[in-house]
Symmetry: C2
Subunit: 359 residues, 2 copies
Amino acid sequence: MKTKVTELFKIKHPIIQAPMAGGITTSKLVSAVSNAGGLGMIGAGYLSPTQLREQIRDIKKQTSNVFGVNLFVPGVYSIDEKAIDSANKLLAPIRQMLSIPTPNTVSYDDSGKVFEEQVQVLLEEEVAVCSFTFGLPSSSIIDEMKRQQIQLIGTATNVQEAISCEKAGMDAIVVQGSEAGGHRGTFNDNYEGSLIGLMSLIPQVRDHVQVPIIAAGGIMDGRGLLASIHLGAEAVQMGTAFLTTIESGAHPIHKKAILVATEEETVVTRSFSGKPARGLKNRYIEELQPFESDLPDFPIQNTLTQDIRKAATNQENAHFMSLWSGQSPRLAREVSVEEVMNSTIAQAEAILKNTLNLI
Amino acid sequence: MKTKVTELFKIKHPIIQAPMAGGITTSKLVSAVSNAGGLGMIGAGYLSPTQLREQIRDIKKQTSNVFGVNLFVPGVYSIDEKAIDSANKLLAPIRQMLSIPTPNTVSYDDSGKVFEEQVQVLLEEEVAVCSFTFGLPSSSIIDEMKRQQIQLIGTATNVQEAISCEKAGMDAIVVQGSEAGGHRGTFNDNYEGSLIGLMSLIPQVRDHVQVPIIAAGGIMDGRGLLASIHLGAEAVQMGTAFLTTIESGAHPIHKKAILVATEEETVVTRSFSGKPARGLKNRYIEELQPFESDLPDFPIQNTLTQDIRKAATNQENAHFMSLWSGQSPRLAREVSVEEVMNSTIAQAEAILKNTLNLI
């Protein structure tokens, strides 16, 4: 299936694996997607520049096809000691249940410095594609990356953000619908209004930008691929569909939770990281729900809850893990990346052939 | 364009006009849709049996094509005097601003009795199609309507509700995505979890029911029609797209508000009726937002706010009107019903022909 996006990124199929941060996008997953004709993506949001460089080199050994990297663009945040104290008080009983100590101090990385170093790694390692979440980098970074012919992808959750992405020089835009799992990419501060379903969002964005659109959110198979293309997208980005594959680095507990979930079980929460993200509702989310709006900003809350998520994962305790998922868990399958890729394309082509009877 | 739904309802195009209650679905609108080859629908939720009978007869004079009626299925609600007093206190300053008196008592119709009389009207007037919102009627009503060969449509916002609709004997199911304007049709009490985007909802419902699906939510043109069909629907129901047509009975202020709105301006609120519904955010919604969860049940809150909505409409004061809208206001146009119908079908067919290059 050929579209503007397959030409732009030199890939066979218009399918991009969502850059899920936090250990899910292992080299095995990324290279499997690229080897199967899609675009594998490293979710590098939480990787140090050194870890990122190592993974890029590792993937190059496993595929000669194009792959990409996603970076979190650092935003403005305040270190509000009172909010941190309140959050730690809320987290104390959870830490106790998981038998982990209350940290005396927590150190916060200078995310601006990390981001610039990550960009340097991409330039040095000659990565072909880079996508950005949570905003847009400075024009000097964009210019430098463009000079080295890195294809740039912005992330938008509404029309205004998409226009900003195009103006900044992005070569394509991930348009993230309300259906999407994981972090909301919203960066224009209107979080509530930016939970827009893809049926509404894709055509409205399409009418306001010229660059190719990559639809993201709830897309799991050939039906979603074809629908996205007909709404105005030139490719899809699939997250949950790849999260449960054999090659994914997601914890088996996380995979299983998605495989048995229904479409009604996800919620959008700030409780894990300080930024809204969609995941399966569990005890942790429920306990922090009344305090959602008082929690510290991203990435402070993310740093605060790191020990909890780590301990919960080690103890295989799904009640306190972040179980990111889109709104289509019933369509998730525990199969190989190749099976996801091939069945998606085959289904889209079969539906298209059948639909000809309509006219 | 032929689908199972066009055969079932004996219509030319798989387009159903959403049964928007509250004066929008005038005989002019309903008959224009049916005359243009779609299925016009009376939103009869707030009509008395006599008004409903008159409108049915009126429409029959204006079209010989099939049209339908939507009924609100009465649910259980409590008359909580304390909640009513609190609500009236919140509404007092708004009534003052609009120069309307505080009502001493408000009478509540016996919605169960009204519903049964509405059903009798449909049977007597031999209406061809009846859709239900907010639940399913008793099996005796369903049996009686089926004996008279009325085609029945249920409304579902999640997979479980769709399964219930099929089990109850519905001939088709409106699958309402989170994008939809107006009232949420949710009846299994999981309101928060039932705001599911159509990209996720249609395929997950499709895999669990056999009867035709009618997609609803944010669909405004041929792109949405084609995408819905590829996701697994056999027709679409369009609300906002018909609300702004010349033939619609919506107040000009309401139409204009949609025509200038962006996709980020809608919210889901209980503040007008007691049931969650999507509309353009205005001062009324903002003022009642902190008290959302304390407001009386539907239809109590709806009855309480009737005078406010009426006065605001008469005074052309958009701050206090219920400006229902789906998430695609940027795609709304002030054109004729015929133009909406023809351009939707023409666009869908053109896209389909172009897409053949993909394979």
